[in-house]
């Protein structure tokens, strides 16, 4: 199949960017990133600069890949990261627009690569259980109900990709924060610090320049790990509980 790609090119964080159009031949077995590899090899052969994009595992688990394809973070398929998107979902002659994730808290580094270190700082603010190496009791000392463990897992499946932010008209990171707050808060080990954790993480989120949540739920629709917005409700309850505690 032959495709026309409209790709956002931007040299540096502070330089202006714009779309460039490329033609590339692909086949249906390729992944989207392999199709971009082909384009890049083509550009290199023409002694031009290849398109920069973040990627690593190419299995949908590391959270590195991040582009917006035809207006949707990680492309058209539900529950799928860009690296897992295959070309059989496109057809000959398609025009595909590719842009970086856009949000105030995710400045562009180059082309499709953005800086998501704000997520790391939110975790550093309180997204952990305070336990030093060597302190814990036996792993089976505290039984955890199977369903509870499973719910915690569902939230812990977040890959920190930032698609939720890119999908949100307000550029909010609520789904990401809520996923962590739920993961830890649902487990007995994480309950103890929950109040402080919620407050500190939300404060850091605000400081990083993420927007407010206005219940649009676009985040859930675009999340490649299908993290549920019910986690946001849980986060809001936890916030209220925490503010009662502190007042």
């Amino acid at each position: 199949m032959e495709l026309q790609l409209k790709i956002w090119r931007q040299k540096k964080a502070d330089s202006p960017g714009g779309f460039e159009v490329y033609r590339v031949k692909a086949n249906e077995h390729m992944s989207f990133l392999e199709m971009l590899d082909v384009l890049n090899e083509q550009l290199i052969a023409e002694r031009k600069e290849p398109v920069a994009f973040d990627h690593d595992c190419r299995e949908g688990i590391c959270g590195a890949c991040s582009m917006v394809i035809n207006g949707r973070p990680h492309g058209p398929n539900q529950g799928t990261t860009t690296c897992q998107l295959h070309m059989r979902f496109f057809k000959d002659g398609d025009v595909i627009t590719v842009e970086p994730f856009q949000a105030r808290a995710f400045p562009v580094i180059k082309d499709l690569v953005v800086d998501r270190s704000s997520f790391d700082r939110i975790i550093q603010a309180g997204g952990y259980i305070s336990v030093n190496t060597g302190q814990p009791v036996d792993g089976n000392a505290i039984a955890i109900e199977r369903d509870t463990a499973s719910m915690a897992f569902d939230a812990a499946a977040c890959i920190g990709c930032g698609a939720c932010v890119a999908a949100c008209p307000n550029g909010s990171a609520m789904l990401f924060v809520a996923a962590k707050v739920s993961h830890l808060g649902l487990l007995p080990q994480g309950k103890i610090e929950q109040d402080g954790r919620v407050q500190k993480m939300v404060a850091q989120m605000d400081e990083e320049g993420f927007g407010n949540c206005s219940n649009v739920a676009a985040c859930e629709a675009e999340c490649p790990k299908q993290i549920s917005v019910s986690n946001i409700a849980r986060l809001n309850r936890a916030l209220i509980a925490a503010s009662f505690q502190s007042s």
């Binding site: 992944s31 392999e34 550009l43 290199i44 690593d56 890959i159 487990l187």
Partner: protein, 666 residues
């Protein structure tokens, strides 16, 4: 040079306990003055950096990723071993130790492996306390499953995402130390060289990948936790960024590389489908708990399947060859990886492969679906369930156990593995070889430590499933924090290391010159094309089976490719900017050197053991044939000067507790 593994005196089960009570301590006041560089933030690096920070050392941690959470460890699927014996099925520290030594085909060091088994249980406790949501039984206790090469269930898991959950646990512990100020994190920084001052590792040169600046970082010691080098084969299950640069630069500075040719080829991966392919995807070994591996017994059937005239479901039971169950009745589908991989290759070489390329075998869940379906129906009180009910209930159980793997398979291949069996083929997965380390996890360069997949230590010639996560976390949480004191206790009077010294200056200049050379060659071939060519040489001649002639030709071919690279590579862009092609170029240049050493090692080891299968040395039944008289040692290679031959030092392996025997899974 004589290698001293520094194995403590005493009986096997007392060595570590006694070591811990005797190793010199560093007082809290002194810890605050001692700086440690940790390169890598995977399971090994993140757990080490966090634990060292907790102890009070001043840590600088580096990763080329944009966040520590993206390290390749995140992709581990199946699970992590521990000798908890929660299942009451006869497991013990000794059995885990023994299985690991035997699985490694008697080429690992007893004392290290025993210690690994000893600390394995604490890892589970630690992870649970951090909030790792392991799978649980209905009663709320931790659940286990089996992996290859063992007859107990000792593998803990978190659906098919165990590595992700364990890494997030370690990442959160690391994040906590970052917020407390004990660890300073350098994301998107790639180590380009090691700096050795007066014989001790004292720092690194790193490139800031965003600005392109080449920077100096000094510390009292350096820990490399930079993962494996499977990507030397181009196609592997490793993430795209995995590379050998850090350990290779250590070798170029005088460190020994242990058993570089010991590579693990994993039997259950999605087969290669085209030449544009950038990587291969693993289907976790846990699938062999329930999946049965087979090929058609008759060549005609295999041919018809390849031509798509027949499908797997058209082949009746009695026309299928479950070749692992046939050849290895005692372990069946759960033989170790090297054994399973070779067996699949043998069948495909006979013309029984089932994909259009002929390089694939089936992994079939049909029997498991029916078995689980029946048992679920009976629990639900259905005495005589119909076939459709059985199928439906069985699929639910399989989905719960392996759902994400089945989804991943379908996303890639476009085929539904609930309906037709998966097609799988072996692929490069893990490197048992790595930097040679002693009992302290210290290399032969004082002050340089290596942990996780980056070292050679515990897996001998073949790693058992679910043991890499165990080893990475054992090293980082529970071993290095003690053993590093062995070195650092002697450094309490050493003031902060000065990055302005001539050694730093020289190393920095060397890195800059190399970058310039890469950019100024301005030839006609892309970095990628060199990497592909190297990968093909390695796979064809230093892969699943090897012979002298092939290895000789491979060495020649790699040397030619290397000189071609430096004459004809084209790297676009500049040095002082974000330039992924430049990063890749440096990594491939290092692979082109490392690959040759792997071939040299494979050539010298004139025996077969574990994943190292020399065609000249096999039993009548096609099993590996070791030569314990001649090769019962670790091959530690030095190669500081590429114009001379690599130099071999042997560390003899003394088996005091395990009786060395022929590995049998029949």
């Amino acid at each position: 040079m004589k290698l001293d593994a520094k194995i403590p005196e005493g009986s096997l089960d007392q060595k570590w306990t006694q070591y811990k009570s005797r190793v010199p301590l560093v007082s809290p006041a002194n810890k605050r003055k001692l700086e440690v560089i940790v390169v890598g933030s995977g399971l090994a690096g993140a757990s080490a950096a966090a634990s060292l920070g907790e102890l009070g050392y001043q840590v600088k941690c580096f990763t080329f990723h944009d966040s520590p959470r993206r390290a390749h460890s995140i992709a581990a699927q199946g699970g992590i071993n521990a000798a908890k014996n929660y299942m009451n099925d006869g497991d013990s520290v000794y059995r885990l130790f023994y299985d690991t030594i035997k699985g490694g085909d008697y080429r690992a060091r007893e004392a290290n492996v025993y210690r690994l088994a000893e600390v394995s249980n604490a890892i589970i406790d630690q992870a649970v306390a951090q909030g790792v949501p392991f799978a649980r039984e209905y009663g709320g206790l931790l659940e286990n499953r089996s992996f290859g090469g063992v007859q107990v269930s000792r593998t803990f898991y978190a659906r098919g995402q165990t590595g992700q959950q364990l890494l997030i646990g370690a990442y959160q512990a690391l994040s906590r130390q970052i917020s407390l100020g004990t660890v300073k994190m350098y994301n998107r920084h790639e180590m380009l060289d090691l700096v050795v001052v007066d014989g001790k590792a004292r720092g690194i040169i790193a490139r800031n990948l965003i600005t392109g600046a080449v920077e100096r970082y000094a510390a009292h010691c350096v820990v490399l936790a930079t993962g494996g080098y499977g990507n030397v084969f181009y196609l592997s299950t490793n993430a795209m960024g995995c590379n050998a640069t850090a350990i290779w630069k250590a070798v170029r500075n005088g460190a020994f590389l242990g058993n570089p040719c010991f590579t693990q080829i994993h039997p259950t991966c999605i087969p290669v489908s085209g030449d544009y392919q950038s990587k291969l995807t693993l289907m976790s070994e846990s699938l062999r708990n329930d999946g049965r591996v087979w090929v058609p017994a008759r060549k005609e059937d295999a041919e018809a399947i390849r031509r798509r005239q027949k499908s797997a479901n058209d082949i009746p039971e009695d026309q299928r060859d479950y070749f692992l169950e046939r050849r290895y009745p005692a372990f069946g589908n759960l033989v170790p990886r090297d054994v399973a991989s070779r067996a699949a290759k043998v069948e495909c070489d006979k013309g029984l492969g089932v994909s259009p390329t002929g390089l694939a075998v089936f992994l079939d869940f049909g029997a498991a679906i029916r078995r689980y379906g029946k048992s679920k129906a009976s629990v639900a009180g259905k005495a005589q369930p119909d076939e459709a009910t059985i199928e439906k209930l069985g699929r639910e159980v399989i989905a719960e156990k392996y759902g994400n793997l089945f989804e991943m398979y379908e996303k890639i291949t476009g085929e539904n593995p609930y309906n037709t069996p998966m097609m799988i083929y072996p692929a490069v997965h893990y490197t048992m070889g790595g930097l040679w380390v002693d009992y302290n996890l210290e290399t032969n360069i004082p002050g340089l430590f290596a942990i996780g997949e980056a070292n050679f230590s515990d897996h001998g010639a073949n790693r058992l499933g679910a043991s890499a996560l165990m080893q990475g976390l054992a090293d980082g949480y529970f071993v290095l924090p003690y053993t590093i004191g062995h070195f650092l206790s002697g450094e309490i009077r050493t003031p902060a290391i000065d990055p302005a010294s001539p050694q730093f200056e020289e190393a920095e200049q060397k890195c800059k010159m190399r970058i310039e050379q890469l950019l100024q060659t301005r030839g006609h071939q892309s970095v990628e094309s060199f990497h592909r060519k190297l990968g093909k040489i390695m796979w064809d001649h230093c892969g699943m089976s090897r012979n002298l002639q092939g290895l000789q030709s491979a060495r020649e071919a790699i040397r030619n490719l290397r000189s071609e690279f430096w004459k004809d590579v084209f790297v676009p862009g500049r040095a002082d900017e974000f330039n992924p092609e430049l990063e890749k170029a440096g990594r491939v240049a290092d692979f082109l050197e490392l690959g040759e050493l792997m071939v040299v090692d494979a050539m010298h080891r004139n025996e077969s053991c574990g994943g190292h299968f020399r065609e000249e040395h096999q039993t009548g039944e096609g099993e590996t044939l070791r030569d314990d008289q001649q090769f019962n040692y670790v091959a530690a290679w030095a190669w500081p000067d590429l114009d001379r031959e690599p130099e071999l030092t042997r560390e003899p392996l003394n088996y005091e507790y395990v009786k060395i025997a022929t590995r049998s899974y029949k």
